[in-house]
Amino acid sequence: MQTLVAYVENKPGVLNRVSSLARRLAINIDSLTVGPTENEEIARMTIVAHTDAKGAHRLEASLEKLVDVLLAENISDRSLLERDLALIKVAADQQSRPHLMDLLKVFRGRVVDVAPDSLIVEVSGTVDKIDGLLEVLRPYGVLEMARTGRIAMTRGGDLLQPPNDAVEPEAAAKS
């Protein structure tokens, strides 16, 4: 599994170009998240792909060939922080609710909605942590789940910022 970060133009069709490229390269995307950045014209993507380092290089370099991709970087080998967020609706009655609460404490999950027969748990963390919570919730009955997919960021001074200098068009298309 390889993790890439990309800064892209925040406009229609860009997600399609990125995912279409991965499809063309026969690279299966495990998760792809897009969100705004400080600059409203630029969006940030975290792409987690089922491929090896060679495939990730090809994906990274090919992404940067897209006009709307400002920067793409394979950060798999860097020291990085990853987070996944999940909302899990789990069956819960009077009896099981206290047990669930105890479990959630261990996983630092929060109950964000309570209904007579179920509750919604919000949990964030690494994929492993969320998978771990899921495993222990399953016996109670997982009714529904939504996950965001991973977002990732390199640690400390290892900055990955969008290029903001106005590059000459010739140089832009060349680089």
Partner: protein, 570 residues
């Protein structure tokens, strides 16, 4: 100045230096055609939109500039797809302009509405829909920048009908391209550069693999200087032909599936390959597991995505070929490497000096004869535009190109039907050039309707049909790999000479060797286009041949045959 979107488009194209547009009108592009009629732009009416894209492609390849094709929405646009893909695979700068239904109708499955930007996303370098007149000028200028810069490629601009009709302010100075700010990557570090120099100067058996990128970069002189500085033997890719003169003693000829045998053997024996502006296509490498096992590799390439894609390299110099070669050249130590050059000579045997024309006349007409005669008669100065198949490989083997942009051929996509329209484009790019179409009887029948375009435009092109009554290359594969079961390859063709006459073009049919040269001469002297139907040997094959997936040195060689093969047994 207030203009309609259609007028803005024409003004912008004129400002960009466009003289010719290859296109076909239709409802959704009609406002542009109305404006075209009032502009200085010359519109060439094609007979099929695929032809328009091939013409724009041929124009781009012959001129080094950008070719422009135009079509209406829906079927007009989808007909362009093959031509766009052809340009994409061969890095050719083509700008396609398509009409689109009005923006209010988008997504409604309106008459002749199709999502052409969706369709062409994987086969264009970039594409864009424009739905406001005020965005047309900037977008078209951006399209030209994108098509031409870096590794070139096709760009499609889809303009809605209402954007063509609406009015907007046009000011050339204010509509400058505004492309997203891109990260500037360092092309290579000093260590990589030093490693390349170390490899180059310590190599005993180096070989350069010269590709299309040399021409795109305009690096012909830098390349020749580099080659001579290091006294490197050079092998050409199909699209690289012309980038380095065929008559230079260091030019060994073409590599790959139908490359010269000694070139493929030299690649397998080399201790260093220097790949310049080429991408280690499967047609040049054969089986990657056995490819150039004893060679270190240096890759000079502008497209970072090509590095280590097929062949793992020891030094990658990402950048413009001319800049990289100019940086390397002063560091080259001129080493004679007599043993290596002698070894290559030995592999070459006497085949390079053997003249196929001096062989006894067996009464058979071989395609190689025709092409070799064409080369001699045109002094190697013609622009030859080929189609795809056996004749294409024979052209590459027997027509020796000394000048860049004189062989125009569909390499990457291998598009049959390319030759005739691409030659029309090339003729517009180089009106004074002697343009020859070399095409098979199969490919010619795919786009022969463009003969009418030649007549309508009153241009002079010579067409040599290498007619063997088969889809020859496929027949050859059936002969070699399917026990001669010729399924769907025998091909009925019309009387091409009579067909030419029907279009108003002079047509000839040649069956004897002795008539080849006189007919080529008289075609060249004729002021109008001439079509010559060369009835050649039906079941001749292209040799040598590396079967698909075989190792590069495992070539099928020409069996005992009156026609001497191009290469000698090593």
């Amino acid at each position: 100045m207030k203009l309609t979107g259609a007028e803005i488009l024409c003004e912008t194209l004129e400002h960009l230096g466009v003289k010719e547009i290859f296109g076909y009108p239709g409802g959704a592009i009609l406002p542009v055609y109305d404006a075209l009629g009032k502009s200085k732009l010359h519109h060439i009416l094609v007979r099929h939109e695929q032809g328009a894209t091939h013409m724009a492609d041929g124009y781009a390849r012959a001129s080094g500039g950008v070719g422009v094709a135009m079509a209406t929405s829906g079927p007009g646009a989808t007909n362009m797809v093959t031509g766009i893909a052809t340009a994409m695979l061969d890095s050719s700068p083509v700008v396609c302009i398509t009409g689109q239904v009005g923006s209010k109708l988008l997504g409604s499955d309106a008459f002749q509405e199709i999502d052409i930007t969706g369709i062409t996303m994987p086969i264009t370098k970039h594409n864009v829909v424009v739905s406001r007149a005020e965005d047309i000028a900037r977008t078209v200028r951006e399209a030209f920048v994108i098509a031409k810069s870096g590794r070139p490629g096709p760009v499609l601009v889809d303009i809605t009908k209402d954007a063509q009709q609406a009015s907007a302010e046009f000011d050339w100075d204010k509509c400058t391209p505004k492309l997203p700010p891109k990260r500037r990557r360092a092309s290579y570090d000093k260590a990589e550069f030093d490693r390349a120099i170390e490899l180059l100067n310590s190599s005993k058996r180096p070989l350069i693999l010269a590709g299309h990128g040399i021409m795109i970069s305009g690096a012909m002189k830098a390349f020749a200087d580099f080659v001579h500085a290091g006294h490197f033997p050079v092998a050409m890719t199909l699209l690289g032909i012309g980038a380095f003169p065929a008559n230079d003693p260091l030019n060994l000829g073409m590599m790959g599936m139908h490359g010269e045998a000694w070139v493929n053997h030299a690649i397998q024996e080399a201790d260093l390959l220097i790949a310049v502006g080429m991408r280690f296509d499967d047609r040049v490498t054969g089986d990657l597991r056995t490819y150039a096992k004893s060679a270190k590799k240096i890759h000079i390439e502008i497209d970072r995505a090509e590095i280590n894609k097929n062949v793992k390299v020891d030094a990658a110099l990402v950048g413009d070929a001319r800049e990289v070669l100019e940086a390397l050249e002063p560091h080259m130590e001129k080493t004679a490497r007599p043993d290596w050059h002698a070894r290559i000579k030995e592999m070459q045997g006497d085949s390079a000096v053997r003249d196929i024309q001096s062989l006894p006349d067996t009464g058979h007409l071989y395609a190689a004869h025709v092409i070799n005669d064409l080369w001699k008669e045109t002094n190697g100065d013609a622009i030859v535009v080929t189609d795809v198949g056996q004749h294409q490989m024979w052209e590459a083997q027997y027509y020796h190109h000394n000048k860049p942009r004189t062989l125009i051929t569909s390499g990457g996509l291998g598009t049959m039907g390319f030759a005739l329209p691409a030659a029309i484009g090339a003729k517009f790019a180089k009106p004074d050039a002697d343009v020859w179409v070399v095409v098979g009887d199969g490919g010619f029948q795919m786009t022969m309707s463009e003969l009418a375009t030649i007549v309508q435009e009153k241009i002079k092109i010579n067409i040599a049909i290498i007619n063997n009554g088969y889809l020859g290359m496929v027949r050859q594969w059936q002969e070699f790999f399917y026990d001669k079961r010729y399924v769907a390859t025998p091909l009925v063709a019309p009387d091409f000479a009579a067909l030419a006459n029907a279009f108003g073009i002079r047509g000839e049919r040649i069956t004897a060797r002795a008539d080849v040269v006189p007919t080529i001469r008289s075609a060249r002297e004729c002021k109008e286009s001439v079509l010559i139907d060369f009835r050649v040997e039906q079941e001749d094959s292209v040799y040598p041949m590396v079967p698909a997936g075989a190792s590069l040195h495992e070539m099928i060689r020409r069996p005992n045959n009156p026609l001497v093969e191009t290469s000698a047994e090593p």
